[in-house]
Symmetry: C2
Subunit: 345 residues, 2 copies
């Protein structure tokens, strides 16, 4: 059988503005400059990703930290080799004027949408944490379409992130003549008492055998992505306009807002952050997703540039209001970095 | 390493309405009913597909006939196991009012967009066929974005199919206050004198080793898709509405028109058509893509239902005017089957 030099890279989600560094590395020829070929693939079901990469049917990809840990605990040989997004806020998103949701206790009897099976595990653990049982609410698996399910009224609330589903719902609310503030999020990191400041980073992951057998390719891959990240941070508007030449259906105001809102979450140095890994690993142990002897499946050894220091732990949790981060941990929120003006995008 | 039972299926193109049978088989639980799991993946670059499937990095997928033949000739172990679309018209699409293109000779000096490398080979052969050399026109690789490149004016014309790019351009023309008839196609089957009636079917393909080692899975996969095809033919509006619940960005009028225009091209029995294979194989020999001893890499042995007869060869070529097929070969155009009314979709 003829083999291929192409590295397959399976996204965690349909193409989305926060994937810019990967697409730009491809579009701007940075992978080619490094002498590698990368085929970016999009999943139809996000729940397929760890299994496909872990079983060696794809080489590299993306996945949220909790799924990266959970996949490894299930025997899928995946490992994180870097970070794309540092801890976007994750939570239960709802429309205040109709959901009847005010705090976690008020989720009783509600229809809560989740993406894949771990969303259900998290919800069940949270209900337990707040003295409820899974029978106290209706969990509905909605896959990638949390926003639409809320808009259609199929669910009263759904699990999403601050820089995607919350933006989509906010813009829809404005179209409906309501305020952006009608969209509320119960942050899981706060509900679960995880401590400063957020929940679950999105990571560059890969199949462990592929990584072990191709260390130079992995270094080149990440170097090209770092170069694309630097370009995007320096030239956000140019970067976005390049991206949508390839993904024309994302050439919309809402998607530009999603990019804008994602901007401060992009990891600048792509490192796995020890503090975040410790926090989420501890959470996974609490959820009984991993055993007490779980060894973190992450490494920074393929990042061939100086890494930024982590900030000190123990600072106050951050809060967020319509995309403006207040207080909290500067490292993971990059809150000193202003997002690009929307008009300039 | 933990293995997976999931079959990966790599599309030929970003998710598009003509992919409905595959997505429906997944959404309606038909794969599950057959006892198989299928992970549908979308490529970022259509030129990756034969290489990734042929090298065993994906199990199954979709690809146009000419690429399926060309990939095999290059040593990629791919084989067609059925047909999704019977011979949609493929050609050089342009805007009459500004392109200055009237016939193939008038392509001299023009900027012609193509998707991947075989588009270039075809163009070069066609120019040669009409007494030109590749230096007589400017070939520009535009990937999936032929329509946008024409709209932006980056190219004067581009290779596309009648049921996708032509529809997109027609609808854009109407938005601009021009007629749908401003969009013209020089059909490659006519230019290349391939004979009745069209050019290049889109096929269900797979990695040969995977197929050989998993005959039952392949049968189940195709049976689920046949069931979804039957459902879609019988209930086009329900089918489309189900599809866009998963692919919300395709819930637009233009995409519904693309579905409508694709309707008559869907293979009803999913068979590889011998006549079409002979025609395109002969064309590939002419293009020097394959040797004279090329053995067709296609089989109908995994289609476990009665196949429809092929129509007689030798009838007059069909013509098409804004989606209405006139005359020609009834088999490959299914011209006796009315597409669903747009208002009903």
């Amino acid at each position: 059988m003829v083999t291929t030099e192409k590295i397959t890279c399976l996204l965690n989600w349909k193409a989305t503005p926060y994937h810019l560094p990967l697409f730009l590395a491809s579009q701007l020829g940075y992978f080619t400059d490094e002498g590698i070929k990368v085929a970016i693939l999009e999943p139809n079901d996000p729940s397929d990703v760890t299994e496909i990469i872990g079983s060696g049917k794809a080489d590299l990809g993306l996945k949220a930290m909790i799924h990266t840990i959970a996949g490894k605990a299930r025997g899928y040989d995946i490992k994180s080799i870097g970070t794309l997004l540092d801890e976007p806020f994750t939570g239960v998103i709802h429309l205040k004027h109709k959901s009847g949701i005010t705090d976690f206790h008020s989720l009783r009897g509600k229809r809560i949408g989740y993406v894949g099976e771990f969303g259900k595990i998290q919800l069940d653990e949270l209900t337990q944490h707040f003295g409820m049982t899974p029978s106290d609410y209706h969990a509905i698996r909605v896959g990638m379409n949390v926003t639409d399910a809320i808009i259609r009224g199929d669910i009263d609330a759904g699990i999403g992130i601050e820089n995607v589903q919350q933006v989509e719902l906010e813009e829809w609310s404005v179209q409906q003549g309501r305020s952006r503030d009608d969209v509320q999020m119960l942050r899981i990191d706060e509900l679960a008492e995880l401590g400063c400041c957020c929940f679950c980073s999105i990571l560059y992951i890969g199949n462990e055998n592929f990584i072990k057998n191709n260390p130079e390719k992995v270094e080149k891959y990440l170097r090209a992505i770092k170069r694309a990240t630097d370009y995007m941070i320096a030239h956000p508007a140019d970067a976005y306009n390049t991206f949508v030449k390839s993904k024309t259906h994302l050439d919309t105001d809402i998607q530009r807002k999603i990019f804008q809102r994602s901007f401060r979450y992009f990891s600048r140095d792509l490192k796995n952050v020890e503090r975040d890994w410790n926090k989420v690993t501890a959470y996974c142990k609490r959820l009984d997703i991993v055993g007490s002897d779980f060894e973190q499946n992450q490494t920074n050894e393929y990042l061939t540039w100086p890494l930024l220091p982590e900030s000190e732990p123990g600072v106050e949790p951050a809060t967020v209001e319509t995309g403006v981060v207040k207080g909290g941990c500067t490292r993971c929120l990059h809150s000193s970095i202003a997002p690009p003006e929307l008009a300039a995008l």
